[in-house]
């Protein structure tokens, strides 16, 4: 059994999968892809993952794409320390969370991430070089084109923050009955799916979005105390660390 995870330290979707691998105690080869040199757009990586994004799991030669798919795959193939629900209704409810997190907070967190830090990488490129870089991304081309070197405009930024607040509010409501995890007593891939976004919000200085949401605050502290969290968030996985000191 060989598991290899192609990933970036700082990628929220990579962190989701690392959390599950560590929670389940699964040894894996941590194949760090180099973002700065755009290794994720290189020929060999695109052969593995035509979307040019991370993470990609390779298990005994088979490439598994998409972080939620990877998480559910791992839970199916390695059922010890289960992180899903035992019954179809429970799994349907869990997948409702996964679909919501994929559609709403995961894309929204890119906006403040790019505005705050990642736009610095592109500031000094000529327009031509920037556009060429954008066009090299199989599924993010239009995203980069809209970002257009300067970052997102204020309206898009405000709307992204609104969607992140909605995510926090929904979680607060679900956790309101005092349950430790989103699906109840069991830590599941639903929690793993969203905590990197919450952690990124904290790193971007947006923790105030849950300043008055005590259940979400407690859930975050609870998860952060777990060994899998410490293993996932080793030094160099936060944007504030990667971009420290840069103008």
């Amino acid at each position: 059994m060989t598991l290899a995870l192609y990933n970036f330290p700082q990628s929220t979707c990579s962190q989701k999968v690392r959390l599950v691998l560590w929670e389940k105690g699964l040894p894996f080869e941590d194949r760090k892809v180099d973002h700065k040199s755009r290794e994720h757009l290189s020929g060999w990586y695109l052969a593995l993952n035509p979307n040019g994004v991370v993470p990609t799991l390779v298990h005994d030669g088979a490439a598994i794409l998409d972080s939620s798919v990877i998480m559910e795959y791992l839970d199916e193939v390695f059922p010890d320390t289960p992180m899903s629900m035992p019954d179809p209704v429970g799994r349907a409810a869990l997948r409702k969370w996964l679909r919501y997190f994929e559609e709403v907070p995961t894309p929204s967190i890119r906006v403040p991430s790019f505005n705050r830090y990642l736009v610095r990488r592109y500031r000094d490129l000529s327009d031509e070089d920037y556009n060429r870089m954008a066009d090299n991304h199989p599924i993010r081309k239009h995203f980069y084109r809209r970002l257009a070197k300067k970052g997102f405009d204020d309206r898009e930024t405000a709307e992204a923050l609104d969607r992140l607040q909605q995510t926090v509010d929904r979680m607060e409501k679900a956790l309101g009955d005092g349950r430790p995890w989103l699906m109840g007593e069991r830590l599941t891939v639903a929690d793993a799916c969203v905590i990197p976004t919450i952690d990124r919000m904290q790193d971007l200085g947006l923790a105030r979005l849950w300043a008055e949401r005590p259940h979400v605050a407690a859930w975050y502290d609870r998860y952060a105390a777990r060994e899998a969290f410490g293993r996932t968030y080793y030094p160099g996985t936060r944007l504030s660390e990667i971009f420290a000191g840069a103008g």
Binding site: P112, N115, R116, D154, R155, T157, A158, E159, L161, D162, G205, L206, R208, A211
Partner: protein, 264 residues
């Protein structure tokens, strides 16, 4: 321990948050919903009898008026880092900050109401309810202005004056910025901090055309926006309900705006 009572969109609140961020100070946030009248509660009026935001409380000491608060904060740590070193530089800075309280801030309210915020009244109140609310305003001149601004929008008789005031202001800023990168000269100061929220408000109301032909102001605005403190203090607090409203209604108002600026 610093506590700031403030509102997300209020320009005077933005000024103070910007200063706190530039100075790297931690502070406790207490937001007020101005549309809901939080600033008129007895508890808040006990702190700030003017019933406006922001108010800073520093270990029990209450400071009001954003221009005053900003200088207070600048003294708190690394004193004077946001004020020019010499007397003439400080005088220049204060000429700018004083100007805001002498008509510019009021003109901002006129533009914002006429173009965008008037629609928020109509969304939740009948004409009668709006009239009843206006009737309760004690100051007759203010009441008349607010009535015309809400009901007539960009056709209000007060709209052209407010717009032209800003046109003149942006021209004055452009002239000052010919001599240096910042309003008071070579160094970034509380003058730049104070004017940033007004530039942002104009931008959101689609009035950035005021600096289409004022390249120094355009460049100054980009420099302001590039500062990390701008992001944490202003961008992160933008109200997601107001921005689409200001953008859409601002676009609608442009023909009237262009007409007034062209001499109509």
């Amino acid at each position: 321990m610093l506590t700031l009572y403030h509102n997300d969109a209020s320009t005077c609140s933005q000024k103070v948050r910007f200063t706190l961020a530039e100075k790297g100070l931690d502070w406790e946030s207490r937001t007020l919903d101005l549309r809901a009248g939080d600033q008129q509660t007895p508890e808040y009026l006990a702190l700030n009898p003017n019933g406006v935001v922001p108010t800073l409380v520093d270990d029990g000491k209450v400071i009001v008026e954003s221009t005053v608060i900003n200088e207070y904060i600048d003294d708190a740590v690394d004193p004077g880092s946001l004020r020019p070193a010499g007397a003439i530089g400080r005088a220049r800075m204060r000429q700018w900050t004083k100007q805001l309280d002498e008509g510019v801030h009021a003109a901002t309210g006129v533009l914002s109401t006429c173009i965008a915020f008037r629609h928020q009244h109509f969304a939740v109140k009948t004409r009668e309810e709006i009239e009843q609310q206006l009737a309760r305003m004690p100051d007759a001149a203010k009441r008349e202005r607010q009535t015309r601004n809400i009901f007539d929008g960009v056709e209000s008789p007060f709209f052209p004056g407010a717009l032209k005031r800003f046109d003149r202001l942006v021209g004055d800023m452009d002239t000052a910025l010919e001599s240096g990168p910042w309003l008071a000269g070579d160094t970034f100061s509380l003058a730049d901090v104070a004017y940033a929220p007004y530039a942002v408000r104009l931008d959101h109301l689609q009035l950035g055309l005021l600096w289409d032909e004022r390249p120094h102001v355009a460049a100054w605005y980009e420099r302001i926006r590039a500062r990390p403190a701008f992001k944490t203090a202003l961008v992160d607090w933008f109200n997601p309900k107001y921005l689409p409203l200001m953008a859409e209604k601002g676009q609608e108002a442009l023909p009237r705006v262009r007409g007034i600026l062209a001499g109509g």
